[in-house]
């Protein structure tokens, strides 16, 4: 099996050599009406499931200008996208435009896989959300375009909190929240022993690192003197955060504590939990019947700011996607044009209407007041972000953080597990 895979990479690498000879650079000056190339776009499945009409509309606009260019949109899964892209970029069937998770971009930029772009060609580029823009920037140059943002918030079942505490609002401080969770727990575990008042799976590293950020810790720090990144999980602050997270998992999660957050919306839809810490739009997934959700919960599921330790809100990880044009693409100008249509103010309006955070502050502003998005939109300014380091993707792919959390849940001390994770991070992060 693995030999074949490695072999496939080998073959792919050979083919790239052949393909590189076939470039045709004279097309850019042609009349748009006469262009007849193909443009391959890799988008993630979210676009297919949640905003397909936007893709359709953008393709129609593009078609008007370039009637003969064939736009080929392919939808990818998050789980294997990175491996697939690595292999594709080594071959001759690579995408021209690709959606990248914002934690993934840096490694591609550093390895010369992405083409430089000119921000002036894109709407609202002067107010792009900083957390996203930073992931596209290297040495002052811009290599991708922010697409949308997301932040994690509390998503809770109003009825369950009402039954437990008498109020259907989520408490504002963590101390109050924990008391409320105890009450909800007492109420519902009477019937179902496996009910989790807070469903917080142990491998959910985005949540764990939010607690690390809450105590002032971090995953890694850049050492200006040595000019390199260094793991920082064994610092006292980081350890406090990890400890806090693990204690919450052990105390409130009555389901399998070793899972990750993949199916937490589903757990909530099955009324096995009163509170999850999820992406803003997952409140919708809980009640979406077409997506394994439970329509009976309609109107009972609400997002709210997640209270964190020390009386403050829990700093949320700012997630989201960027769009990039591959350096190898022979139609970079067409790719840029397509991306510019796809991230135009008008397109962002479509995303905002679905409670997805747009890529710029200007269009984010009204969402801060909208009840469905207020919690998420307001979480953006205090958000934390993964280290913008060359080897970050390897750390994610190697699951250093997940394995650390799992080790602690299995009984390793926080100090030992954090030390081991730091060593692993140090070995990967600068490469």
């Amino acid at each position: 099996m693995k030999r074949k895979l490695i072999a496939a990479v080998g073959v792919a690498a050979m083919m790239s050599g052949i393909a590189a000879c076939g470039g045709d650079s004279g097309n850019a000056s042609k009349d748009p009406k006469d262009r007849s190339e193909e443009l391959t776009v890799w988008l993630m499945v979210d676009a297919q499931s949640t905003w397909p009409e936007l893709v359709k509309d953008v393709n129609a606009q593009f078609k008007k200008k370039y009637p003969k260019v064939k736009v080929n949109v392919q939808y990818q899964q998050w789980a294997d996208k990175a491996k697939k892209l690595d292999t594709a970029l080594g071959g001759d069937k690579f995408p021209d435009v690709v959606e990248l998770g914002n934690t993934e971009t840096m490694q591609y930029i550093l390895n010369g896989a992405l083409a430089e772009i000119d921000p002036k060609k894109y709407d609202n580029s002067d107010t792009w959300i900083k957390g996203l823009k930073d992931t596209c920037t290297f040495e002052g140059k811009q290599f991708c375009v922010p697409y949308y943002a997301g932040a994690r918030v509390a998503i809770y079942n109003k009825d369950m909190f009402k039954a437990g505490t008498g109020s259907d609002a989520l408490p504002q401080t963590e101390a109050e929240l924990l008391t409320a969770l105890d009450k909800v727990s007492a109420e519902y575990t009477k019937k179902d022993k496996r009910f989790s008042s807070l469903y917080l799976p142990g491998r959910y590293w985005y949540a764990a690192m939010s607690y690390v950020a809450a105590y002032g810790g971090s995953i890694a720090e850049y050492d200006e003197g040595a000019k390199e990144w260094k793991g920082n999980l064994s610092s006292a602050e980081s350890q406090k955060g990890i400890e806090h997270f693990v204690n919450l998992v052990k105390k409130y999660n009555k389901a399998d504590i070793t899972k990750d957050e993949q199916d937490h919306a589903n757990v909530m839809a099955n009324e096995k939990t009163a509170l999850i810490y999820g992406n803003g739009w997952e409140a919708g997934s809980v009640t979406d019947g077409a997506n394994n959700g439970n329509p009976k919960l309609e109107g009972k599921i609400a997002p709210a700011g997640m209270p964190g330790p020390e009386g403050k809100a829990l700093p949320s990880f700012i997630g989201g996607s960027d769009l990039a044009i591959t350096a190898k693409s022979e139609v970079t100008d067409l790719g840029q044009e397509w991306v510019s249509l796809f991230t135009s103010e008008k397109s962002m309006e479509v995303l905002a209407s679905k409670n997805i955070l747009p890529n710029n502050e200007k269009q984010l502003e009204p969402l801060k007041a909208k009840p469905e998005t207020a919690a998420v939109a307001n979480a953006v300014p205090d958000a934390w972000f993964t280290p913008i380091a060359p080897g970050w993707t390897s750390i994610e792919k190697d699951e250093v953080l997940e394995n650390m959390l799992l080790a602690i849940l299995k009984g390793t001390s926080v100090a030992d597990a954090a030390k081991k994770a730091d060593d692993e991070i140090n070995a990967l992060i600068n490469k």
Binding site: L5, V9, G10, S16, G90, N111, L406
Partner: protein, 337 residues
């Protein structure tokens, strides 16, 4: 051609003493050999021409990548080089010395060997027992059993792995529910089988053995039907116990087949990848890594393609001993001439 024709064509045969049943026609056939050979020569190229496309396809699919893998293992290939944005430096044997000097590699190798041994012993043992049982079953029970075995055998790995994953799921799994009902201990609900790698590998072994047993049973049953009944009867008439009959009559007949199937199992179970990968939800923890997964994670997760290739090559070398043994068995039993 008739005997008369050949007799006319060649010189008269030298009379040699021969058995009573070998008479006239056999000796002309001997004389005809040179001519027949000449005839064959004409068409000799044809079979090679016919097999050529297959050989080319195999060369393209196996040989080229194999060469590439060898080359890559002496380089240090990262992403930039893969995408053609950088040079691939030659590092000689560095990848190999790094890997062989890494205690983690030896840990993974040890785990792979132990896991393989347990799987092979269980597969062969259970397979042989079921095959022996099939000899004594009534025809229709044996038919039903064969159909069930083939059904299990033909189930795609993805499906089988999903089934086992759900069976062992800690929150909703059937195994936990059954255990809780049988023992009356509610703690089984929510028991996580993969928290302790020994238990986790227990489930993985179940899946591997379950998938491998049908092939062993069917092959061993076929071998067992070749044991001459009269020999067994004679042995028991001579006073041999059931075990004695098995040990001295049955076993020598089926032994070559058993050895070959066992050798194949060693190769298969050494290379188990999909089962572990799928049962661990595409994210195996380090304590679940066998050599295959280890090489994969080095190549694709840590993006060191050269290290991955080197590990793959070391694995091939380790297995080549087993492969040679297997070929020798094949030649011994006369399937390859």
């Amino acid at each position: 051609m008739t005997a008369a024709d050949t007799k006319a064509a060649g010189p008269p045969p030298v009379p040699v003493p021969r058995g009573p049943e070998v008479t006239g026609p056999s000796s002309p056939a001997k004389d005809a050999k040179p001519r027949a050979r000449r005839q064959r020569k004409k068409g000799e190229l044809l079979p090679y021409l016919l097999i050529l496309p297959a050989i080319l396809a195999i060369a393209a699919v196996y040989v080229y990548p194999l060469i590439k893998t060898v080359i890559m293992s002496f380089q240090d290939m990262g992403r930039a080089a893969l995408w053609g944005n950088g040079e691939t430096p030659w590092v000689g044997f560095e990848q190999f010395t790094n890997i062989l000097g890494d205690p983690e590699f030896w840990q993974v190798t040890g785990r792979t060997v132990v896991f393989m041994t347990i799987c092979v012993v269980l597969t062969m043992g259970i397979g042989l027992l079921i095959a022996l049982m099939m000899l004594r079953l009534s025809t229709w029970v044996r038919l039903v059993l064969t159909v069930a075995l083939i059904a299990a055998w033909s189930m795609p790995l993805m499906v089988a792995a999903s089934v086992f994953r759900w069976l062992a799921d800690s929150d909703y799994g059937l195994i936990n529910t059954l255990l809780a009902d049988l023992t009356g201990n509610e703690d089984w609900l929510g028991h996580n089988w993969f928290l302790d790698p020994w238990q986790g590998f227990g489930i993985i072994t179940l899946l591997v053995v379950w998938g491998a047993v049908p092939f062993v049973v069917i092959t061993m049953y076929a071998a067992l039907t070749q044991v001459p009944k009269e020999l067994e009867e004679a042995a028991s008439l001579d006073g041999a116990s059931a075990f004695g009959v098995y040990r001295f009559v049955t076993w020598p007949v089926i032994k070559p087949v058993f050895t070959m199937v066992a050798t194949l199992s060693v190769i298969w179970d050494f290379n188990v990848f999909g089962q572990i990968w799928l049962l661990r939800g595409n994210k195996p923890e380090p304590e679940y890594e066998t050599l295959g997964l280890y090489s994969f994670s080095k190549a694709f997760e840590s993006t060191s393609f050269s290290q991955g290739s080197a590990i793959a090559l070391i694995t091939v070398l380790m297995l080549s001993g087993v492969a040679v043994y297997y070929l020798r068995q094949l030649i011994k039993t006369g399937e390859v001439e």
